[in-house]
């Protein structure tokens, strides 16, 4: 499998909406 690791996830707001089966990305997080 292709794996998106945590280094590449840095500073994104990442939302796991498991009930609605969707994943969200928002830039410039952790501010």
């Amino acid at each position: 499998v292709v794996i998106i690791g945590n280094v590449q996830q840095r500073r994104f707001n990442i939302v796991y909406d498991v009930g609605n089966l969707r994943i969200g990305f928002g830039a410039n997080g952790c501010s």
Binding site: V2, R11, I14, V15
Partner: protein, 406 residues
């Protein structure tokens, strides 16, 4: 000018190296939101005590990826319960890898609540902490969780559905539930599967089911255990579905003095959504559809099936992203074309494209974006493009799988 700005990052070289201080607020902003810090950063109390080399960190990361690939290649719907007594030797059957997670949060167990620093991991379902009596526990900074000191602790019967839901469960001589969570380089956590109050930020979660690990060993550093954020029934996400609606979010800080968060139960504004995919054979993991990668604003010329064939997983516990070799080669070539002014440096473990930036105060690196289904574009922060062990070795922070089908 705007087009150029989207093509590259201008990086102050000092910002690539770890900061010497931390500025973390004492309290989280909401009742279900926790601060997240890098396990080896300045905001971790264990920063100086538990700091493996970059080579060792990347070796552990490859071990985790090997394990994920092993699971994907040998996926079955359910493993056999191990049964028997708590401290019986359990064969390690899944190769030679370790799941390790590099971001930690502080949660509380018991009444009155005691605080514990645990790694969080979207690639694991069960939550566990080291627990009295500890017949074989590694050193951790905080005192071990002691269920006898908690007024809200209760055992779980080994006949209960909660016990049977575990991947590997057993029954003690008093018919209480035993769990076994095994990793692959002989790392494991064995113990009692119990329930007690979990304190998450200022929220109280009653009767939370987790592992009370009496016999734990492996490369867990000095963390007090692990919080499982996987999709499975045992994870905190499933257990709190009535409370938080199976929604969680996080932000992982870069390795400077910034902090992140882990929040249960609410969405975040200004995010774009791509479909979450599932794999019945790998029920813990979160999948999504990667369709393209762009470098400096230009999409790499790749077949769409290069990613959709093997599938793409989002994993908080893997450090470096892994790409099919064909995609990795295209990414590396485009990156190198942009970086020709910098002298190259030797590889760093799994990272084969490195530069010596000792003589530079600022460096220019091309922007890289991951493009997911529905054209959701994640333009990486610069800390997600390069991995810097020291000024003489700044590396492209991607690695390749062994073959395109993996």
């Amino acid at each position: 000018a705007r087009e150029l700005a989207e093509e590259h990052h201008v990086i102050d070289v000092k910002s690539l190296l770890p900061s010497s201080f931390c500025s973390m607020p004492d309290k989280s902003m909401s009742s279900s939101r926790l601060n997240v810090v890098h396990r080896h950063g300045q905001c971790s109390s264990r920063a100086r005590q538990d700091k493996p080399s970059h080579v060792e960190l990347l070796r552990q990361d490859q071990a985790r990826v090997d394990y994920i690939h092993f699971q994907a290649a040998n996926a079955t719907t359910r493993l056999n319960p191990f049964g028997g007594s708590l401290f019986a030797g359990v064969p390690v059957s899944l190769g030679k890898a370790l799941r390790t997670s590099n971001y930690i949060i502080i949660i509380g167990f018991g009444t009155p609540t005691k605080s514990f620093s645990v790694a969080f991991d979207t690639g694991t379902d069960i939550t566990w902490t080291q627990c009295v009596p500890c017949s074989n526990c590694y050193t951790q900074k905080d005192p071990f969780y002691d269920p006898t000191q908690s007024s809200t602790f209760t055992d779980i019967s080994c006949n209960s559905e909660y016990c049977i839901d575990l991947k590997k469960f057993g029954c003690s001589s008093t018919s209480t539930c035993l769990y076994h969570q095994e990793y692959d380089d002989n790392s494991y956590s064995n113990g009692s599967f119990i329930q007690d109050t979990l304190t998450f930020s200022s929220d109280t979660i009653h009767n939370f089911r987790f592992g009370c690990g009496h016999n734990n060993s492996g490369l867990f550093g000095q963390t007090d255990g692990l919080l499982g954020l996987g999709r499975g029934d045992v994870s905190i996400i499933s257990q709190t579905s009535q409370l938080y609606g199976k929604i969680f979010s996080y932000c992982l800080p870069s390795e400077t003095n910034t902090i992140g968060y882990l929040e249960l139960g609410s969405s975040v504004p200004d995010v774009k959504y791509t479909p979450m995919l599932t794999n019945p054979s790998l029920p813990t993991f979160y999948f999504l559809k990667l369709i393209a990668i762009s470098v400096a604003g230009a999409r790499l010329a790749l077949s769409p099936t290069i990613f959709s064939g093997p599938g793409t997983m989002l994993d908080s516990g893997t450090v470096i992203s892994r790409l099919p070799p064909t995609a990795y080669s295209a990414l590396r070539d485009a990156f190198k074309q942009y970086m020709t002014k910098y002298p190259m440096a030797p590889p760093l473990s799994i990272l084969d494209t490195c530069y010596n930036i000792t003589n530079y105060e600022t460096v220019y690196v091309p922007s890289i974006a991951l493009i997911f289904d529905d054209e959701v574009t994640a333009t990486l922060d610069f800390s997600g493009i390069v991995y810097t062990s020291r000024k003489s070795r700044m590396c492209l922070a991607f690695a390749k799988n062994d073959d395109d089908s993996e």
